[in-house]
Symmetry: C2
Subunit: 475 residues, 2 copies
Amino acid sequence: MPYFDAASSAPLHPVARQALLAALDEGWADPSRLYREGRRARLLLDAAREAAAEAVGCRPDELVFTPSGTRAVHDGIAGALAGRRRAGRHLIVSAVEHSSVLHAAAAHEADGGTVTEVPVDRTGRIAPGAYAAALREAPGGVALACLQSANHEVGTVQPVAEAAEECAAADVPLLVDAAQSLGWGPVEGNWSLLTASAHKWGGPAGVGLLAVRKGVRFRTVQPADERESGRSPGFENLPAIVAAAASLRAVRAEAAAEAERLRGLVERIRARVPELVPDVEVVGDPERRLPHLVTFSCLYVDGEALLHELDRAEFSVSSGSSCTSSTLTPSHVLRAMGVLSEGNVRVSLPRGTAEADVDRFLEALPGVVAGVRERLGAPKPAGAGAEAAADPDPEPKPEPEPELVVDSLGKRCPIPVIELAKVIGEVPVGGVVTVLADDEAARLDIPAWCEMRGQTYEGERPAEGGVAYRVRRRA
Amino acid sequence: MPYFDAASSAPLHPVARQALLAALDEGWADPSRLYREGRRARLLLDAAREAAAEAVGCRPDELVFTPSGTRAVHDGIAGALAGRRRAGRHLIVSAVEHSSVLHAAAAHEADGGTVTEVPVDRTGRIAPGAYAAALREAPGGVALACLQSANHEVGTVQPVAEAAEECAAADVPLLVDAAQSLGWGPVEGNWSLLTASAHKWGGPAGVGLLAVRKGVRFRTVQPADERESGRSPGFENLPAIVAAAASLRAVRAEAAAEAERLRGLVERIRARVPELVPDVEVVGDPERRLPHLVTFSCLYVDGEALLHELDRAEFSVSSGSSCTSSTLTPSHVLRAMGVLSEGNVRVSLPRGTAEADVDRFLEALPGVVAGVRERLGAPKPAGAGAEAAADPDPEPKPEPEPELVVDSLGKRCPIPVIELAKVIGEVPVGGVVTVLADDEAARLDIPAWCEMRGQTYEGERPAEGGVAYRVRRRA
């Protein structure tokens, strides 16, 4: 039963399991105690810290273990902001950071701080010089900048080393969230703080990493605690820490070969999906990306139904579509990229994924998508002459009055886009159709549909009960 | 090799180990995902929450899992204080709470809040009505009160139900830190919030509990996160959570019988140690106490040397003596009780402790203590006619001038008390000896020695380089 959601949580690596079992017997005592069980626990903790620090590329005394990647991010950002309170209260983040970073930024804003979100291009990547520009244009002293090493939803690798240089030039520390990439290799460049999460690389849950380079001002905002250099309160989760360090070392040893193999499988998905499934947009940077992750969106498809059908076919994937989120808004990553969010599928291959499973996925996907589309009454695929074929007259005409209006109020993604696609053929070339919708996904997906279909998106305006989106037929 | 420090961390219960192993295979996926691995993880999480809530005595939706007992305390106190910001900013704690509570209180003070520490008697117990008095005398609106269910250093059980009634009458929530007692049974009374730590009952590290009764105002101060009702950010440590819940159920099933058995062993230690070792003070409430924990202090003994010798004899215990703490101050619990801190030993028996091991401990202890005393040049035991015997004249006399002064500046516990004991015989009855000392433990141990020896402690005053402690010879 193929599990293709390693980016959410990777199955436990055999080395992690083995190390965890051994440490359950040897590492349950308090490592701060002086008796033999305590000393044994302390040795295990020290060895785990050395191994993890080596993999991170920092000194052992720069690294602490936290209870999760999220707590590493929360405590790391709060500590760096507090440590640099005198330098200012501005925080710079990219628009496509993990929610833990964006939530920490929102907490900082609620506390009176200010935040810049650096935009990304259509591949999800920040532009060269983007952090330098954000630093220049900051409204006040900048305390901290944050940039992920690679995006968790679309796999795009960020230019961390360049951003770190830009930050260093402005004497501002850069925190790198390396949750998605640390298993594949160390983060390049002159970063100041780094966070990661063990269960993303095949380690156990319950362990995050927070590295703070010597010389970086840092003040813990948690109540005092003597453990983990005072930077992560609470009794050390030692067996899991031992398993995390051991598995990080193990996945690194396999990383080069496995990255190459998975990159080939992902390349196959990237190439084959658009051939096999009509009206698909593969998103993310085609070259500078994580080896194991690929994301695409399918027009006229309900993401939740798609995931459900794939689960029935025994494929476990995730989605950034609005209907799969508790807030019914599309993923902030897809929004920042400006790409289609409906029918979104993220495939992230765990280490050891069999080629045959990827092929089975590629066999199953077209039928699953077609089935969902059929149930939704989606238009026939483009190229099969569906949408435009309804209009026998391809000549430009003056815009007729009144405009065609599609009322999709109260209808959820992907219905507004399906209804738009169904009527576009009735609009003369040069004419305009207005879609009324109150679903948040329409704001992203109607422009994305225009881009994919070669139609002209003319913008939105408020309308009674929702938003009016104007689309001009170009062909 | 007997391990007698269950109060720091209990060895992993076999049921915890078994459940952890099973959940490593079944529970590594993200429980918020909709595919089968996620649904399976969600089922495990829900079942663990139900089991833990039943053991706590609350509804499952009142209980969240945190990464440790310390984080449960920190997040619980911060959330309750924030939720009741309008009611006021005063916090009431007992003077003998766990350091995680006192550190949270200190953080609250640093943030502009105010704190009352409710004192305890010589057994470590708060007085009846003490919380009502603290509520009445609070300098402003009280946001929260905290009281441990039982003390972690001396085992004294607190009158939680009474304190909860006093708080309820004032409409103030009571947070109970049940870390030491939850494995033995639910906390009685009308508490509002409750915290606990799994590795204290034989569960794994990495799991704390935070229960917040419906109707208690609570506002998470952490950045937003959708997991654990927004009250404990970060990916759930699921295998450990499953193991924590399973082992809590298991230890509860064994609790009544095991408590009775361990209570008998502890009773033996309480009775025999003062018979076997001269100049010992057994501390804590003799009746209202945890079944598995006993603490005593040995005059004229260096706690670190004592622990080291016991470790060589293969007994693992802990100590509240100043020399065993990183800050070189005696345990705040012993200080609040006003009992001797030198040569302090806490014995906390894990479940399953063999009677023979306790007897071996009782056999080994007298020789170990005598050895440490001999190396320190301690006076011979009282009753053997040591200290007072040096003075052949028991008649009261007018106080001579100049007083006898012992200069113990620069000397660490237990040396100042040993030097005091050595000279007391040279002081005429009714006369005074002054001890100059700069070791923090002297402030506690000189009065405690006077209490044990029937001498009169007359108080302290600042002196050059330290503090002058006045002792009047009574007999």
